[in-house]
Amino acid sequence: MLSAVIIISLLGIGMGILLGFAARYFAVEGNPLEAEIEEMLPGSQCGQCGFPGCGPAATAVANGEAPITLCPPGGKALAESLASKLGVSVDLSDMEDSVPRIAHIHEHLCIGCTKCFKRCPTDAILGSSKQIHAVFADACTGCEKCFDECPTECIEMRPIQPTLQTWYWPMPEKAA
């Protein structure tokens, strides 16, 4: 009886010490999932999700505080890969409506102030002082930073127009 009590107590104490050491020396700084999710996000810090950048957004997704469909530049592809990463099911039907938009500069209004291209996180705007600026559609993530910046309101966010290469048939209607 006594020996059993002693053995159990010693075991308890030993394990406790081990756990204490493990907690101190094998501690992980932050959630490793956050880093992995941040790696998957576009990294342009555009803030379209409502978070101040991709880092905080990744934290929120990892903690389940934000939906995995939060990233408009990432689109459905990102939502699906996040779903498989986190092992959750995803409803992509919410994303149908949000057509990605990109910036377009109305050249007759542009005064060449260079404010927009200084703000662009992906260097998608080309221009220099007192020259008309232009947007590289392929590099624009639609973060709207330039949109807020332009003093003459010459930037318009336009939905991306389909071309013959990118157009495809919609899903057939389901049987009743």
Binding site: G75, A124, A139, L164, Y168, W169, P172
Partner: protein, 513 residues
Amino acid sequence: MAGIANMRLFRIRGGVHPEDHKRLSAEQDIENLPMPTLLHIPLQQHIGVPAEPLVRRGQVVRKGQILARSQGMISAPVHAPTSGRIMGVGGYPAHHSSGLLVRTITLRPDGYDEWDDDCEGVAEPFALSPEEIAQQVAEAGIVGMGGATFPSAVKLNLHKRYRLDTLVINGAECEPYLTCDDRLMRERPENVRDGVLLMARALGVKQILFAIENNKPEAQSAMIKAVEGYPELQVVGLPTRYPMGSEKHLVQTLIGKETPARGLTADIGVVVHNIATAAAVNDALRHGRPLLSRVVTVSGGAIRQPRNLHVLIGTPLDDLVKYCGGFYDQPARLISGGPMMGQPVPSLRVPVVKGSNGLLALSEEEVQSREQMPCIRCASCVKACPCGLFPLSMAAHIRAGSLEASVELGLLDCIACGSCSYVCPSHIPLVQYFNYAKGELAARQRTQHKQRETKRLAEARTARMEAIKKAKREAMAKRKKEMAEKKARETAAQEATAAASSTDKQPKEEAQA
């Protein structure tokens, strides 16, 4: 007299036997369509990069003159189908189900049909080297005319990267209704033959198989007559079954080897070209004529007089319908291409392009649109699929939104032949699901690619900004240091002068005193 080559053919799985409806137009000679009042020539009539226009509004061009040059490796130039004046370069509805506007050159024919002086043929095209043949085919803007519209010159250059031994000429024309290839083989067999021999020379292959389905005996006998005295060219009769004209299935039927998944037939040493492409190659090399026109079958139950028309590229479809006597009544469906794989035409305003082999106006009873019912898992589609896929499961996954699962079942090996939709007793639009899923997957891949690229850009920018900041900081620190040094020097100098002046003053003061 030589006959059909006595060749062992290999069976392919699946396929369907739709009623062919070819007799509607099979006995109609190829007729030249009268000159249209306006031609709309799109800059993209091929797979690859659109051509870049070389003409301006108001410019006068002559027949065969280059209008737009090819851009990059996979592209094709566009030429003026007749002489006339350029009315403009701008957006016009595309020959595509989407009806999107594409860059199009509009030409008003002057009616003289004068050839450009540069369009001169080669007297002895067989003396050209393989590279020269491929070069001239590229300059003539020839693309695969069976409907895929892949630039032909790129295919003729495959011998540089693959070991090729066989050229297969696709005269299967397995789509119902279409008879343009049939008529071309019957009426111009020598042109087709010479084009085939030129392509074989460019590819450097020894064996040429000329495959024609057995439902075209006249075309077969015309070609057999034309190839007499050319032992390397064999005419092969194919069993009549859809989709016999699919490149990979055609090759498998003929030589018994299966093309690797998502590979090319060149991987097993075979190149396939369409017979209309062969005729175009002959025209380009022997007569110096770029690809300016093609034969189009206008057929279907709603058309008054089904015909085979020789049409200039850019002719509005409306002109074709009018020449064929118009419609009996409003067609239930207008289709470009065959009824199995063809795509609906957005309007009759759109022009004929290099890849359009047919215009079908189908009546209500031909379309037989019936209400879609739930899948009863009868597996008819599995039996019909020529690629050995499970259409019912793939469609179920796509409907549930899990595209990845359908890819695992082989979605990307689907050739969209439509056999599954054709046999489905519940009238489920299976192939439409697959077309949607392929498009959606491609769109996601594009998004992912863009995301990777923008991420790289964003990181590069951050790094650059950091570097600039650092450089600024360092410059500031350096300047500060310099300033401090300067100040120290100045103060030292001041002190020195002050000390000197004080020593100067002292004697004066002393003197005054």
